[in-house]
């Protein structure tokens, strides 16, 4: 392999890896406040990018991405409220959310397809919303404290649900966001290496996200409170910290950063309704590689996996690219379950 090719692979690896890093950081943020691995993390990313793509046809690209991030953030909050939080008092917000999900399912199943377009949607909501309030009234009494494991399984359900909803709200095709500068033929040359300027965008925005998150967790009141929650919920409550709110914020932040990363990389790697699950697996591998909960290690881990994948293409057929992540995951789990950068002590302290 010559030097130019080497650097080309490196740049590709870094951009793809940056995306994995952001997904892994999202895993970590939620894991830290709740102990849950949120397997819907990759779907948050796709959802945000899909919304941005749709909006980009009517709005300037920056604003379109902003809308995508916002929608993903709200969706993150909804997921936390509806599926994760155990709260036995009646919650109108949760009722409405369940209602909307019910409506979308009704629409998806085509129950009202005999009605004209538009009216069928209204009909679905007309039936869905009372269903939401009904379910909330009947089932909230039976909600129990769930184990971490059952909540993790629940996030897999959320992931499937999200994917199905996306496949119907949009379609099953691959979409792309336009390039921020120029088009797919625009090329930036650095000596003899050349690459799309979009890759600079991806690396730049992901770097900014990482720095932003560092500042947030290190210096802000809410950031510190979230770190406190990750150590001891009871002690945090005794400090007057609203632990539930911190958990909601962790879902919002995870979803928002995923959506942003998903949008900037969309022009390069396309966006398709079902890509979230592969991303989740890779993000999870990276999070484990770095040692769960350690976000700086996640950055290193993400870049490592991205680069490994990029170079694997030069040795193995392209189809084997995804195997790299799984292989890596297996190796880590066998030889160093606490993660390459994780301390053994920290992993022993965790609940499972």
């Amino acid at each position: 392999m010559n030097v130019d090719l080497f650097f080309n692979y490196l740049v590709i690896g870094l951009t793809v890896g940056a995306q994995y890093a952001i997904v892994a950081i999202g895993f970590n943020i939620i894991y830290n406040t709740t102990g849950i691995i949120n397997f819907a993390q990759g779907d948050f990313l796709i959802l945000g990018a899909m919304v941005a793509i749709s909006m980009s046809s009517i709005l300037p690209i920056g604003i379109a991405i902003g809308v995508g991030v916002l929608v993903a953030a709200v969706y993150g909050a909804v997921v936390e409220n509806v599926f994760i939080r155990r709260n036995r008092s009646f919650s109108p917000f949760r009722s409405v959310c369940i209602g909307i999900i019910a409506a979308l399912l009704l629409k998806t199943l085509g129950i009202f397809s005999f009605l004209p377009e538009g009216i069928d949607f209204a009909a679905a909501f007309l039936f869905g919303l009372p269903v939401g309030f009904g379910l909330e009234t009947v089932f909230r009494k039976y909600m129990k404290e769930q184990t971490v494991l059952s909540l993790i399984v629940l996030t897999i359900a959320v992931s499937i649900l999200t994917r199905e909803i996306m496949s119907h709200l949009w379609d099953k095709d691959a979409h792309v966001l336009p390039y921020f500068i120029g088009d797919s033929n625009t090329i930036l040359s650095l000596g003899s290496i050349s690459f799309s300027p979009q890759r600079i965008w991806v690396l730049g925005i992901c770097a900014l996200l990482v720095i932003g998150l560092y500042v947030f967790f290190k210096y802000t009141r809410y950031g510190k409170a979230m770190r406190a929650c990750s150590l001891d919920h009871t002690a945090a409550k005794l400090c007057g910290i609203n632990v539930r709110l911190m958990i909601t914020i962790s879902f919002i932040v995870s979803a928002a950063i995923a959506a942003l990363a998903g949008s900037v990389i969309s022009p390069l790697s396309q966006t398709k309704y079902d890509m979230g699950s592969v991303l989740a697996i890779k993000g999870f591998s990276v999070a484990i590689l770095g040692g769960l909960g350690n976000s700086f290690a996640a950055v290193a881990g993400g870049l490592i996996l991205g680069i490994l994948e990029a170079f694997s293409v030069s040795i193995f057929p392209n189809a084997y690219k995804d195997v790299v992540a799984i292989l890596l995951l297996l190796l880590i789990l066998v030889f160093k379950p606490s993660g390459v950068f994780g301390s053994r002590q920290a992993s022993q302290l965790k609940e499972f």
Partner: protein, 244 residues
Amino acid sequence: MLTIRNLQSGYHKLRVLKGVSVHVGENEIVTVIGPNGAGKSTLLMTVAGILKPFAGTVTFDNTDLESFSAEKRVEAGCVLVPEGRRVFSTLTVKENLELGAFLRSGKNEKSAIQQDIERMYSLFPVLQKRMKQMAGTLSGGEQQMLAIARALMSRPKLLMMDEPSMGIAPIIVSQIFKTISMLREEGLSVLLVEQNAKKALSIADRGYVLETGQIVVSGSREELLENHDVGRAYLGKDYSTIDE
């Protein structure tokens, strides 16, 4: 200040407290002593809003706390230093103190919080020396001081402490208790739970003895010190004690 009436509480179906009534007056130090498993921690955790009572009422500052979440109780000025200290181990000493003041978020609070941190450093000078260190690296006694200081950062009216002397050298315990007495002079009310009855009664005005979820004796410090049963069971009057 705090009135607990007929409190029943516990875990799931296990009823630990079987109707406990305790009162803490304005500016008073009240202690609850009792053996392992008596339900002392259960009592404080219930008052702090971490555990939900099965029955009974907790009134603080003439307000029924029933509908108050743990956070709202802190806001109301009723704060607990939990058993085993529970400092945030990977956060620095200073960050721990800042989190104690989490609810004080107003515009002009920032400098007030900074002043309070300085005050904590003057109350517990060792914390200043360790301010940038992770709380988990402190010694047991230092962690206890940090836990108390963190609780004080919320500017409570009532400070509840669960076995602050546990696993700490007697000389440090004396120091901590001296600080507590001093804070009382400044208007703080204290509910102190202890196994170390002798130490607790050295600063308390009144006390209760809790055994298997029930108050068996109560009275002023003098009454408890003279009470025959209390003396034998908790003050080691019939046989010499090891500590202090």
